[in-house]
Symmetry: C2
Subunit: 475 residues, 2 copies
């Protein structure tokens, strides 16, 4: 055990130094012998450490010369510019594109780079099954009865306990459970808007949110958004007089994957409260941080109950469970009434099973593994993009979450690329899905929540070739 | 086995003769000896038959004189009049009452006569649990992944198969699954209405539907409804020019429990299609017929795809499962889009388990038992009401479903009775909950989906006493 611990520690230390830039691209590393001597470990263990780092694409071996820090070409890939949506409402839904991409969801024959959920291979399936069996036994009437309106108590208690990590200080009575996060967002919009109202969103934005807003008769105002720091506060501020409600995904927003800085969160919460504009916060990806710390939320800075904090386990544990929730602040009564008339109850067995799973501490164990995989995948994707995608390709810098945003040179149309890729059994999410305006035609979102395999590596290479073909000769 | 069969057959025959009036109230029955001789059964078996019929309150023994048909006072109880809501929209929500009654739902210390679901004691809990365990094993990724948008295939297939019984002739591709029937109704209303539109409903009407309509900004037009034949077609016809959408519960409507005659169903479908008014049909109670045949639906007569047929297993199998569906006719595309943005997916494990349960044929076996219990309960309730409720009390004549409607003399206010009953650990549903107008203040709905016990018998007696107190001296 001690040996394993030491092994992980040494490998982790070197990896951190590479990732943070202390060790630079191309720099030569200590030899196997030196590493062995310095740390008092066997030659074989030292070798294993380098092999592990090599598997993570962090180091490269050169014959007769030893190990070097990988060129990490992805660090040289430029960042996309701040998005520049029109400062007016212009709802043009990309319906055909969305229908086509979503219809791929259930196909087994495709590599689904288009989705935004973790692959089943990365989920604790056996333990979840066990919890479901236990829940059918433990619940009165086997979970066939309606839940109390506010939702499963254990689940709400665990959400409250976990909120301490991001200084949310929620109580179980602050939380209302829902059928997944989309249902929470829908209930919030129903509680706060009437058709014709204007909703401000980040741009690019998760297509489900855009569609929900349009289907509810809302005007969508897309706001300029920076790929690393999130929504541009000055752009938001300028448009405030036109905005009725604001919906943000500040932590590891899909598609970009940024984490809005705390100072921005605080400022936005203050700004919106001052103008009496409710803020719906979608924190579905909050637990998927690559860094060591769980980021705060806008809700952490909410002193007036003006933030409706929504989340779920759909991106961390089980998309198909439909377990979500909202802490609706001062809008709780309205939310409860809407839950009563639209849903009445959630699925009792599954909400109980999820509540119990969160109580065991297995959730944190699982999250640690999942985060590690996602972060490693990001690095592998970035490297593959640097190696195989057309020159001029830009990528976002996710600090967490499940997706990566790719901006191609202007001549590459990703709606067309989508069709070519589909013929090769690859599904991507074209950029146009993430806006109601005429933007992002040369962009796409890639899911990094798939297990890394040689096949996936080859798929990315294929995708790069298809994109390159646009430049040499428009296909 | 043969003996048991004979026993059941003889008891059933006598019971049928009593229920259909061939044997009249007060009439003397054959003696134990005669019955034994006529059917070639033992004296003991003949005695058991009379005891069984006595337990069902169908016969009474008189010392030294033998057995007589029970007075069946409930058959003399008058029927409520056709409801007379105002022919204009007048949305006055009974919110406080509804909040109070719904907050009782999760209390274990009450006799919940207020609910409209079957008690857990009447459900096949062990078999359902087993199906859930099997579903976690059978589903790819243990049911953690999203379902295909249209929903679980097995479940949709079984809904299609079962539609043959009511001449629905649905195909699996006609069906979209939802999170319970309320979710199906909500999606239908979203697909078909805009705020300010007028929705026509039966009166009295299930409170959840009234609240849903109001929360969506709809104007609710309550239509006169007969307690045995349902919505008054002439009243509906007169108001057609003002109506945008119609939502009906033609089979065993709560609270009344009537079954709309086939001819009415046919006429309404034709009428609404002619005026291009979509019909949302809530058939949640359709499988709970007391008579031998599963009634048809409005959808059975729909040739133009203008009927959106909604149902669920919430009233027959497991309220807490949230398994519902809709066959949306020509509005399917709109429905699917709304499901995508509002719910994305249902709870995969539970929908798979329900689909499998329906496939085994256990569902029909369970339904037969449940229907028998509900019908017997109705008779027991009716008898208890005849014996213990104030003179002048009227009751509906449910032909199926889970509830019974009681109309007291005018001076009895059921909102007040609700408060008095609550102090005796009894929860009832006051009539005012079932309308947005100034109606039904002297009415209440009683759930007949509880197992019959001496305690329940006593509870009904207590309720009668509380109601009588209003007449002798307004408490």
């Amino acid at each position: 055990m001690k040996k394993d611990f030491l092994y992980n520690e040494i490998a982790g230390n070197i990896a951190d130094k590479i990732k943070t830039g202390v060790l630079r691209a191309g720099e030569r590393l200590s030899s196997v012998r030196t590493l062995s001597r310095e740390h008092g470990i066997s030659i074989n263990t030292a070798k294993r450490i380098f092999l592990e780092l090599e598997a993570q694409s962090l180091v490269q071996s050169k014959p007769q010369s030893g190990y070097f820090v990988s060129p990490l070409n992805y660090l040289k890939l430029p960042l996309p510019e701040t998005s520049q949506p029109l400062p007016v409402v212009k709802n043009m839904e990309p319906n055909d594109l969305i229908d086509s991409v979503y219809s791929n969801m259930a196909r087994n024959d495709l590599t689904l780079l288009s989705i935004g959920v973790p692959s089943g291979n990365l989920l604790p399936l056996a333990k979840l099954k066990k919890e479901i069996v236990l829940a059918t036994r433990a619940l009165q009437e086997g979970g066939t009865a309606y839940e109390p309106l506010q939702g499963n108590l254990k689940l709400r208690r665990m959400i409250a306990v976990r909120s301490l990590a991001w200084e949310g200080h929620l109580k179980e009575s602050d939380v209302v459970t829902t059928n997944g996060c989309m249902n929470a967002l829908a209930l919030c919009l129903m509680a706060l808007t009437e058709p014709g109202d204007t909703l401000a969103l980040e741009s690019p934005c998760y297509p489900g949110i855009l569609q929900l807003a349009v289907s509810m008769g809302l005007k969508v105002l897309e706001i300029a958004t920076h790929p690393v720091t999130g929504i541009a506060i000055d752009a938001l501020e300028k448009l405030l007089p036109e905005i009725n409600v604001c919906l943000l995904v500040p932590n590891f927003n899909t598609p970009y994957g940024y984490c809005m800085p705390d100072a921005h969160k605080k400022e936005i919460v203050k700004l919106l409260a001052k103008h009496n504009i409710p803020l719906i916060e979608d924190d579905t990806y909050g637990d998927l941080h690559f860094g060591p710390e769980r980021p705060k939320c806008c809700k952490s800075f909410d002193t007036e109950g003006n933030v409706l904090w929504c989340s779920s386990v759909s991106k961390t544990l089980a998309p198909g469970y439909r377990v979500g929730w909202v802490a609706p602040g001062k809008y709780k009564d309205r939310l409860l009434r809407l839950k009563l008339v639209h849903a009445l109850s959630s699925t009792a067995v599954i909400h109980e099973a999820t509540g119990n799973f969160l109580m065991t501490g297995r959730y944190d164990h699982h999250l640690r593994q999942l985060r590690k995989t996602l972060q490693e995948n990001y690095q592998r994707y970035a490297l593959a993009i640097a190696l195989h995608f057309p020159p001029g390709t830009k990528i976002s810098r996710p600090q967490g979450g499940l997706t990566l945003w790719v901006e191609f040179p202007k001549e590459i149309n990703t709606a067309k690329l989508y069709n070519y890729a589909l013929k090769k059994q690859i599904s991507i999410a074209p950029g146009r899905m993430f806006t109601l305006q005429d933007q992002f035609q040369n962009c796409m979102r890639l899911c990094i929540g798939l297990p890394w395999t040689d096949e996936l590596s080859f798929t990315l290479k294929q995708l790069g070739s298809l994109a390159k073909a646009f430049i040499t000769s428009t296909p």
